[in-house]
């Protein structure tokens, strides 16, 4: 069989990447050292900064740029030199290496400007400490948010979240997050001189909901389309870059544009891979140091990764409606990572997504960290879907020899996926 032909790069993915580069260049040009600039974790309430006009860079997004430029190891080495570990939570600690860069100008994209505030939830045993180190740097304040956990949770959170989030998340967690956000806003008002306008905030929340509603329609199109119209390597930047800019009209329009392009491809019957034989799901963070990884299997086997969490969590994980804007925002983040990593929430959600996307197999990236995998793999297997647990770190390539990854995934596709797909 000849190699299946691929559709070209998705224009909205290219546009998002270009926008991001320009945004970052502008930030470099306009940022005055000491002026308000935030570094925030991916799962922290960025909307407050957006509403107050305080620019921010997302910690893990920056780590993914550094990884894509193959600079993660230099960054981790700088942590090691200062007596910090380089083997825990690398995805969250990479950006900290940028703070110690002796030559920022040679870093990817001209380097990360020094933030004045860093915001993170106190998740895990190490993540919080990474931000403590940030907070020790001159001119940087760490504002920690608690990360609370619930004793009981409903299974089908995606049905409850948009309107019935109070039931899904629980009042204690929401009270806590609202209290902390009030503290954050007061802190920012006092230290930056910026105003927090309720009206502007409501606008930001409304734009975000619109954006995520577009993502939801796009996800539903991709789930139903045969063959798969868009590569995950395109949908990831096309979704995530606007995600980091959510609450702006650009981001809302970018999500709209992505939707229209995907819809166009679906009606034209366009395929990522001409000879699509099998549909795969990628569970876990992006393999940032080897993005060609996903394409190799479609070239070799016609096995297409039709799903990553990035579009799917945009579709299901962000939309929140409510009368009290701050509580609504709290509801977006008080249980954010539970949606992806805490059973039964995560496990049931992956099963639902696997079914609606009609996948014949799941590659589940299992890193050497605390997030755990048993419940997700178990739930998918119980639903009759083959799962390959792939042991690797998503930014730290030291433990992930590409040949080994290829061989493992390839032989699993041959043995377990193709026989089912060709049935």
């Amino acid at each position: 069989m000849s190699a299946p032909a691929r559709t070209g790069r998705l224009p909205s993915a290219a546009a998002a990447t270009a926008y991001q580069r320009q945004w970052f260049a502008d930030l470099h040009r306009d940022h005055v050292p000491g002026a308000p600039l935030a570094l925030v974790n991916a799962d922290a309430p960025q909307e407050v900064f957006r509403a107050m006009g305080i620019p921010y860079v997302v910690n893990q997004w920056w780590a993914s740029i550094v990884a894509a430029k193959r600079r993660t190891q230099d960054h981790l080495a700088r942590l090691r030199e200062r007596g910090y570990p380089d083997h825990t939570e690398q995805y969250s600690s990479t950006a900290l290496g940028s703070a110690f860069d002796p030559d920022p100008a040679s870093a990817p994209w001209g380097g990360l400007p020094m933030p004045s505030i860093v915001l993170a939830e106190t998740t895990g045993d190490a993540s919080r400490k990474i931000f403590d180190v940030w907070g020790e740097q001159p001119g940087v304040t760490f504002y920690p948010l608690e990360s609370a956990a619930a004793d009981t949770v409903p299974e089908r959170w995606w049905e409850l979240m948009p309107h019935h989030w109070e039931d899904a998340v629980g009042s204690d967690r929401l009270d806590l997050m609202v209290g902390e956000l009030e503290g954050l806003i007061r802190f920012l008002e006092q230290t930056t001189g910026r105003r927090f306008s309720e009206q502007r905030f409501a606008e930001v929340l409304a734009l975000t909901n619109e954006q995520e509603e577009w993502n939801r329609r796009t996800r539903d199109l991709v789930a139903a389309a045969r063959p798969c119209p868009v590569a995950v390597t395109d949908s990831i930047p096309a979704v995530m870059i606007p995600q980091w800019h959510r609450g702006t009209t650009w981001a809302r329009d970018a999500a709209h544009r992505l939707h229209d392009e995907v819809a166009g491809r679906v009606s034209a019957g366009a395929a990522v891979c001409d000879g699509e034989r099998a549909r795969l799901m990628w569970v876990g963070r992006g393999l940032w140091f080897d993005l060609e990884f996903y394409q190799r299997f479609q070239e070799r086997y016609g096995a297409v990764f039709v799903w990553s969490m990035y579009l799917a969590i945009a579709a299901d994980g962000y939309v929140r409606y409510g009368d009290d804007p701050l509580r609504t925002l709290a509801a977006r983040f008080a249980a954010f990572s539970d949606q992806l990593y805490t059973p039964p929430w995560s496990a049931e959600w992956y099963v639902k997504e696997a079914r609606t996307h009609g996948v014949q197999g799941v590659v589940h990236l299992v890193s050497d960290d605390a997030r755990g995998s048993w419940a997700t793999s178990r739930a998918l297997r119980a639903a009759g879907i083959p799962v390959l647990e792939l042991h690797a770190d998503n930014v730290d390539a030291r433990r992930s020899d590409p040949d080994h990854l290829d061989r493992t995934v390839g032989s699993w596709i041959e043995a377990e996926v193709l026989p089912r797909a060709d049935d």
């Binding site: 200062r82 007596g83 910090y84 570990p85 083997h87 825990t88 939570e89 106190t122 998740t123 895990g124 045993d125 190490a126 919080r128 400490k129 990474i130 403590d132 180190v133 020790e136 920690p144 608690e146 609370a148 956990a149 619930a150 004793d151 204690d172 967690r173 009270d175 806590l176 209290g179 902390e180 503290g183 805490t342 059973p343 039964p344 496990a347 299992v366 890193s367 050497d368 960290d369 605390a370 997030r371 755990g372 995998s373 048993w374 419940a375 178990r378 739930a379 119980a382 042991h391």
Partner: protein, 369 residues
């Protein structure tokens, strides 16, 4: 050895009271007073580095603290005997993940015999908003226990339990302070703490009172005095190895040692204030490596080194215990004594060559500036 010490370290020490239901619990963030007040015999669960933990590891994943894998394995094997309820705290990420797996097992594999399990989410940021949240969790646990045991723990029972546990904590602090005079080894102290959490508080208080009276007559224990930081120890193996190598652990900052008894609940005066007093006690019990800030942890370590007259700081970090390596640089800088760290250590063991090197560093005479 003093008679009280012998009694406390007796391996045949009764781990439970025949006529009481048993509440197993995980982590020092469980408000144990509520368990006692609800009529349970509280039993803190320990892992065992000597037993194969692969069934637990299969469920929890390879990246998690082996202590949690061991506890889960033992729970599945029924190694703790009959547990009527199980309360898990959020003292570290591994405990939280353990809870999630237990909750999921109950949901998807109901045939696995497990006690009813409850999470008590005690958080530690020094904020008023956090206190309000922890108070809600304290109340939630009290209600849940009442539902399980069929009778609510009244204010009187709770006040009595608080007083009894405070008394044990006070005696543990007094015992710990005798380590400054080297009255007992770290290994012995670990055993004493263990016994104090296995016995009902009144019995524990009796034995500890005798211990505090008897110890001052005992000659000082040998060894180069060090403060131990890093991972917690749920078995005496590492302490025994460290002390066999010529060190004497005179203090530590984990919750199976000094940190278990750092602060009291106190008497709020009005029974209506008991739940709040409990919430504040557990929120502010002192910095534990997985939850404290680097600055807090460093200041605490330095203060403890000084208070116990430690001549060195020894760090011991178990594989997959992710918090302590981030603390080390600041702790070492703050301690003001020679410091050595053992990282990536296997559960319950210490690499002998690394330990040798650490001992040499710790005993090296201070280099004159």
């Amino acid at each position: 050895m003093s008679a009280a010490l012998a009694a406390l370290l007796d391996p045949a020490l009764p781990g439970r009271t025949p006529d009481r239901p048993v509440a197993g619990y995980v982590g020092a963030d469980v408000p144990v007073e509520l368990l006692t007040a609800a009529g349970y015999h509280p039993l803190r669960l320990s892992g065992s580095p000597h037993e194969d933990a692969s069934p637990g590891r299969r469920l929890l994943g390879g990246g998690l603290d082996p202590v949690a894998c061991s506890v889960l394995t033992r729970l599945l094997a029924g190694a703790y005997g009959q547990l009527d309820v199980l309360v898990v705290s959020r003292d570290c990420e591994a405990s939280l993940r353990l809870f999630y797996v237990l909750r999921e097992l109950a949901r998807v594999e109901p045939s696995v015999a497990l006690p009813p399990v409850h999470l008590v989410d005690v958080l530690h940021l020094p904020h008023r908003t956090t206190t309000r949240y922890v108070l809600a969790k304290v109340r939630g646990l009290r209600t849940w226990l009442a539902g399980r045991s069929g009778r609510p723990a009244g204010d009187d029972a709770l006040a009595a339990a608080v007083a009894a546990h405070d008394r044990v904590r006070g005696l543990l602090r007094a015992t710990g302070d005798l380590r400054a005079q080297r009255g007992l080894t770290g290994t012995e102290f670990l055993g004493v703490v263990d016994a104090a959490t296995a016995l009902l508080p009144d019995r524990a208080a009796e034995l500890l009172t005798a211990l505090v009276a008897e110890l001052p007559d005992r000659g000082p224990r040998p060894g180069h005095p060090v403060h131990l930081t890093g991972s917690s120890h749920d078995s005496p193996d590492v302490y025994a190895a460290v002390e066999a190598a010529g060190l004497l652990v005179v203090g530590e900052d984990h919750d199976r040692g000094d940190l278990l008894a750092a602060t009291d609940v106190g008497d709020p005066g009005d029974p209506a204030g008991l739940e709040l007093a409990l919430a504040e006690r557990y929120q502010f019990n002192g910095p534990a490596a997985p939850r404290a800030s680097i600055a807090e942890q460093a200041a605490h370590t330095a203060a403890r080194v000084h208070a116990r007259g430690a001549a060195g700081l020894l760090g011991y970090v178990r594989r997959h215990d992710d918090g302590p390596p981030w603390d080390w640089a600041a702790q070492r800088a703050a301690a003001g004594v020679p410091a050595a760290s053992l990282e990536h250590q296997p559960y319950g063991r210490v690499d002998p060559d690394a330990l040798d090197r650490a001992v040499r560093t710790l005993r090296a005479p201070a280099v004159a500036a």
